[in-house]
């Protein structure tokens, strides 16, 4: 990123009073997901979530919802982890934390649509990573979940410009990234990166946020950036984009991100891409239900 632009955006982001900070409840989860699995501390996660009364009440509500219907009532975070598994609980915690704190203005982009895309992308990242034997599917999940947080920043630092960019994308049927570059001169990738640094997100996640649109320019963490780039495209091709028609015809196997991964992960060569695509519909429905459930909360409806 151009250093002058980076400095300018970082300054504008720092001056926004309404920009949320990462709640304490998320710290152990982010560390766990962004770092090595050897450092995973389950107790730390359970303790942090249990301590935040608002989040833990939301998490328990979702654990007991029809989405994860279980015969036994979940009455504690520890019980939730035992019954649903840590992975499910961490998904729920992230949904309950990020969805309310980062809400693009509904007048421009429906927050539920934004989060459906983000959670859909996170799930696709995880599935794609597992399929090709990428060693850290959970890190890819987090990178997929947060890859578009720059949209939130843009809606705060320049609401009018952001609104014009969204309208241009929808009316011209072009990617939001292209519309941002045309109207604002920068994109959610740069502002997302600046926010990621402020939030001290893991470097791999910050890189995925900055480079997921132009994955071939990624520096150190090219693999996770490529996974997020492809997963984002998969979501947009399976009806989990930003709610408007993008007339794209995508040859995934000819994408630079695909070539990069093919050089590192041999399994990609034998992947049944059509089958993978058909299977994504299940994940997309899962992401939709999770986000719809979170947004059905009375506190979020307000």
């Amino acid at each position: 990123m151009n250093p002058a632009l980076h400095k300018d955006l970082a300054h504008r982001i720092a001056s926004i009073d309404s920009l949320p900070t990462v709640p304490a409840v998320m710290r152990p989860l982010l560390e766990m997901l962004g770092g090595s699995h050897d450092t995973m501390d389950l107790e730390k996660v359970i303790e942090a979530v249990s301590r935040d009364k608002t989040i833990s009440a939301q998490v328990l509500r979702l654990c007991n919802s029809a989405l994860f219907s279980r015969s036994k009532v979940v009455d504690s975070i520890r019980g939730g982890v035992l019954q649903l598994g840590l992975r499910r609980v961490q998904e729920i915690v992230m949904a309950c934390t990020f969805c309310p704190m980062l809400r693009v203005k509904k007048i421009v982009l429906d927050p539920a649509i934004f989060w459906r895309h983000s959670f859909g992308c996170a799930l696709v990242c995880r599935k794609f990573s597992s399929l090709i034997d990428y060693p850290d599917p959970e890190q890819a999940y987090l990178a997929g979940l947060l890859h578009d947080i720059g949209f939130q920043v843009n809606s705060l630092i320049d609401p009018e410009g952001w609104k014009a960019a969204v309208h241009k994308a929808v009316s011209d049927g072009i990617p939001l990234y292209d519309a941002e570059m045309a109207i604002l001169g920068y994109s959610h990738c740069e502002t997302g990166r600046a926010l990621a640094e402020q939030w001290q997100l893991p470097v791999a996640v910050a890189e995925a946020i900055e480079f997921h649109q132009v994955s071939e320019t990624a520096a150190e963490h090219g693999d996770v950036v490529a996974i997020v780039h492809l997963s984002d495209l998969f979501c947009r091709m399976r009806n989990m984009g930003y709610g408007y028609y993008e007339p794209l015809c995508v040859d995934f196997t000819d994408d630079p991100a695909w070539h990069l991964l093919a050089g590192h992960f041999r399994k990609l060569a034998s992947m049944d891409l059509a089958l993978f695509t058909f299977e994504l519909d299940v994940l997309i429905e899962e992401a939709q239900k999770l986000v719809d459930e979170v947004f059905s909360s009375p506190t979020l409806a307000a």
Partner: protein, 301 residues
């Protein structure tokens, strides 16, 4: 209880629990043999189609039925019967909106642009396995609605072929009832059809650009004559072919298409391990197989 589903009457169904893992095994058998995939969200559809066959065979559980499909001497015939059930009632006009959106908004503009550069103003589409005509008439309406805009000055034609002569007779008559028109927007009915009692009859404008003929896709000599196609639709037809026949048909389609042409299959059909000449491409909510243009640049088009 007796239920009418499409044109099939069924009685009391066997016990159907779509969470039964044997349905996943049946799903995998169907995918392996036919290339048709049922995601878990659509497993209930497969279970419903299986239940009709299970009832006919007096089979109570999916495990037992799986045995009929994989171990019994008549397994191939049974699989064919199940595939028949899976595709029954599929035929109607405007069956796959994502596919038609891609045709209108991506494939046609791209084809028009590349052919214009070469100085051509002629389009040829092929509905291979057109059954009773719903698909070619849909394509005809989509092309004709653009005749005064992006296709102004172009000639376009649709070859519609099927093996079954009775189906072709029905297709040529072009008369459809509520069931075949269940997805058809009213504006298309008003513009391209005339009421005919309880039914609707396709008008001459739509009929004039379609040529119906009998073609066996496995007849190599006939297939050689279907050259110069821009777009081929062949939805839920290849599932009835064995692997070798399917490969041969797909290879013919590849030769029949002009460079840059598209082959569109059913919404959940795949050519994995059947053909590696085509490139799988994705568009919103759908996929197609693309014959690389001579100056292929690939990527996102």
């Amino acid at each position: 209880m007796v239920t009418q589903v499409g044109n099939v009457t069924i009685g009391e169904p066997p016990v159907r629990d779509t969470t039964d893992p044997d349905y996943l095994k049946i799903r995998d058998v169907v995918y392996r043999v036919s290339g048709i995939y049922h995601p878990e969200t659509k497993l209930y559809l497969l279970a419903e189609r299986c239940s009709r066959r299970m009832q006919a065979l007096s089979v109570r559980t999916p495990a037992e039925y799986l045995e009929h499909l994989t171990q019994r001497p008549n397994r191939e015939a049974e699989l064919r019967m199940l595939l028949n059930e899976i595709t029954i009632g599929e035929t109607c006009m405007f069956r796959s909106m994502p596919q038609l959106d891609a045709l209108r908004r991506i494939i046609l503009p791209q084809t028009i642009e590349s052919k214009t550069k070469l100085g051509y103003r002629r389009l040829r589409l092929w509905s291979a396995g057109c059954s009773t005509g719903e698909e070619p008439y849909t394509l005809a309406m989509v092309l004709l609605e653009q005749a005064q805009t992006v296709l102004k000055g172009w000639t376009f034609e649709i070859a519609a072929t099927d093996l079954n002569e009775r189906s072709l007779e029905t297709a040529a008559a072009g008369v459809y009832g509520d069931y075949g028109l269940r997805n058809t927007p009213d504006n298309y009915k008003r513009r391209f059809m005339t009421p005919d009692g309880k039914n609707f009859r396709m008008n001459d404008e739509a009929k004039s650009i379609i040529t119906f003929s009998r073609v066996n896709l496995q007849d190599d000599s006939k297939m050689l004559f279907m050259k110069g196609m821009d777009i081929i639709f062949c939805c839920n037809v290849l599932i009835y072919f064995d692997g070798a026949s399917k490969s041969r048909v797909i290879h013919h389609f590849f030769s029949n298409l002009l460079p840059g042409g598209y082959l569109l299959l059913g919404a959940s059909e795949s050519l994995f391990q059947v053909n590696d000449e085509f490139r799988l491409v994705h568009f919103p909510q759908g996929t197609a197989y693309w014959k690389p243009a001579l100056s292929n640049t690939g990527g996102t088009k």
